[in-house]
């Protein structure tokens, strides 16, 4: 039984016909890192939030199920889910400056998590905070715990955020573009930290990013999103050596390689309000097939654990 299972997840806006995430299903074993790759507006962040049952305002209907460690997330009551958030699943967000509380010190914010989930006295909590800060590579944790977010540099802020996410000792971590706001040299340090946590503590990570290079090196398994649905899913090596869906192929070819771009992907992101009735990639596809105009392809298994949503492989 997989550790995390997402089944036919659907998220939609108030207007009934607008679905932002459409029947997304995937599963993940413990200790794996899943990379979710896609352009902006393809529903990858929404999928990430839904793993904690956090929905941004405006989401009016949802269906499907998220099963973590055998327990269904969507059948729980609101109180039970509060116990779960932070303890079983935690999230780190893109911009640490706007997602940390500016009027509380780093230590206080971590303490909040500890107070809620564990029965510890004050000294134990303090020790735990220092240990957490040290674990994520923040020097002088005694001083840093008393700092406010604006007093930390970008890299330290993101580390503090990770410390906060780890405070509840979660088993699953959702990382929603955690390095997009950082410089390259900091980015790689944060990525190294995450992959270390994955290896040493057995943390399962869902890593959301639009950067091919990051996903390539951190993830062991990749889901490619397009217009709210999974178009291809495979293990990292397999996906990069043998991409099947035309979107994935173009995505890989449009990444500058040794100072050259092999192919330019034409067109922009699909307008979510006017999704084509057939294949959603139909308009941007280079050799569109006849079936794609009218009917919608299903996610099919091509070979061992390689899934693709394209008629060509049917």
């Amino acid at each position: 039984m997989p550790f995390l299972e997402v089944k036919d997840l659907v998220l939609g806006l108030k207007r009934k016909n607008v679905t932002l995430v459409d029947k997304v299903s995937f599963s993940l074993e413990k200790k794996e890192i899943l990379g979710i790759l896609g352009e902006s507006g393809c529903g990858k962040s929404l999928t990430g939030f839904s793993l904690l049952r956090l929905f941004p305002p405006g989401i009016a209907h949802y269906s499907g199920d998220v099963i973590i460690d055998g327990g269904s997330l969507y059948k729980l009551s609101e109180e039970e889910i509060l116990k779960l958030r932070g303890k079983k699943v935690a999230i780190i967000l893109q911009d640490p400056l706007s997602s940390l509380n500016p009027v509380l010190t780093i230590g206080e914010q971590i303490e909040e998590v500890l107070k809620y989930h564990f029965n510890l006295n004050k000294n134990e909590r303090k020790e735990r905070i220092y240990r957490l800060l040290k674990e994520v590579g923040i020097p002088d944790p005694e001083i840093r715990a008393k700092n406010y977010p604006h007093q930390l540099s970008g890299g330290l802020r993101q580390r503090a955020m990770i410390a906060m996410a780890l405070a509840g000792e979660p088993e699953l971590l959702v990382a929603d573009e955690p390095t997009t706001a950082l410089d390259v040299t900091l980015q790689i340090q944060i990525l190294e930290l995450l992959s270390e946590l994955n290896q040493k503590k057995g943390l399962t990570i869902v890593f959301i990013s639009h950067d091919l290079g990051i996903i390539r090196w951190i993830a062991s398994k990749i889901c490619v999103f397009y217009a709210g649905e999974v178009v291809e899913m495979a293990h990292t090596e397999e996906l990069f050596n043998n991409p099947l869906h035309p979107y994935t192929i173009n995505l890989i070819n449009s990444y500058p390689r040794e100072g050259k771009i092999k192919k330019i992907l034409k067109g922009g992101v699909v307008n979510i309000y006017e999704k084509p009735e057939g294949c959603r990639y139909f308009e941007r596809c280079e050799n569109p097939c006849k079936d794609g105009k009218k009917s919608h392809p299903e996610l099919i298994s091509v070979k061992n654990r390689h899934f693709v949503r394209c008629f060509r492989y049917g």
Binding site: G154, T185, L186, I188, L191, R216, S254
Partner: protein, 319 residues
């Protein structure tokens, strides 16, 4: 010899910030920076945030005046340029900024955005202006229906194309590209980069490309300039970029950049530390606290940019 389109010589630029409300402290954003961009060439400036690359762009655009040093446009020193001549040159140096959401006026339709620089700098002739606007729009790959839209109705990629079209309206010689693709998706970014490359060949445009992304820089540039804390640490020609013995900082950037096609795994634990604050500048070589190959003398003396070959300059004692 042909004059470079833009040249800066020994530029120093400092800013002042207020600390604790009353105490003023100044710091240098640029220290002793010199470079030249020739016609049809692209100069890529690579560096992390806070290394002064945007300040350099602003000085080249004459939006900021340097404390010390000279800026030359087409071989003429800006300090000794008459107002009339200056205005003539002004249109030749244009800019495209990072965030297409904030760099376009939300109250202007695309047509107004495009015509404004034309009316001010070329001539006040609406018919000709519109002709030019349509021509420029088709160059950047937009349909002319876009003319009557407001920026909020356009997607990020379309906005960046409009920003580029605005720069092209006055037929510039050099465009300063300040992180032109970092707000865009990978696929859109490659489309925009392709446009830049196209125009470079078509109109012999020069660019000063400012970016923190190695793949973007290597895709578009002829020359690569690496900056660290306000100083140029390395200049080299793109063609030899993969073959030479780089400055330790450049090596760090190469190690840190996630290349999906590299045969080596990304994580090598070689990248450490953060960029120091320009307020508390390390002594000697600015990079020495993070450097793998540092020696004792590195913290005492400041290395100067030295010539290794015609196409390669490095500021490091150990090269």
């Amino acid at each position: 010899m042909v004059d470079p389109v833009v040249e800066v010589k020994n530029i120093w630029k400092s800013y002042e910030i207020k600390r604790w409300g009353f105490k003023k402290q100044s710091f240098y954003a640029l220290m002793d920076v010199s470079l030249a961009v020739f016609k049809g060439e692209t100069m890529g400036v690579l560096g992390e945030s806070g290394c002064g690359k945007t300040t350099l762009g602003k000085i080249i655009l004459d939006l900021e005046k340097p404390d010390k040093g000279d800026v030359f446009w087409f071989g003429k020193n800006l300090k000794r340029l008459s107002k009339k001549k200056y205005n003539g040159f002004r249109t030749k140096i244009q800019a495209v900024f990072q965030d297409p959401y904030s760099s376009l006026n939300p109250r202007y339709k695309v047509v107004d955005t495009l015509l404004e620089p034309y009316f001010i700098n070329i001539e006040k002739n609406k018919r000709k202006g519109l002709e030019k606007a349509e021509e420029v729009l088709s160059l950047v790959g937009l349909r002319k229906e876009v003319l009557n839209k407001y920026p909020h109705a356009l997607s990020g990629g379309e906005r960046q194309r409009v920003a580029l079209a605005r720069a092209l309206m006055v037929s510039p010689s050099l465009i300063v590209l300040d992180e032109p693709t970092s707000a865009l998706d990978t696929t859109l970014a490659s489309q925009i980069l392709e446009l830049f490359k196209d125009f470079k060949l078509k109109f012999h445009l020069s660019y000063l490309l400012i970016s923190h992304s190695l793949p973007v820089i290597t895709y578009l540039s002829d020359w690569i300039v690496v900056m660290y804390l306000g100083r140029i640490v390395e200049i080299c020609k793109k063609d030899i970029f993969l073959k030479i013995n780089h400055h330790p900082y450049t090596l760090m950037l190469i190690n840190a950049s996630p290349d999906p096609f590299s045969p080596k795994p990304l994580f090598s634990k070689k990248v450490r530390g953060e960029v120091a604050s320009a307020l508390f500048r390390p002594s000697g070589c600015e990079f020495h606290p993070r450097c793998e190959e540092r020696e004792n003398f590195c913290s005492k003396k400041i290395p100067q940019l030295r010539k290794i070959s015609d196409f390669h300059y490095v500021a490091c004692f150990k090269r």
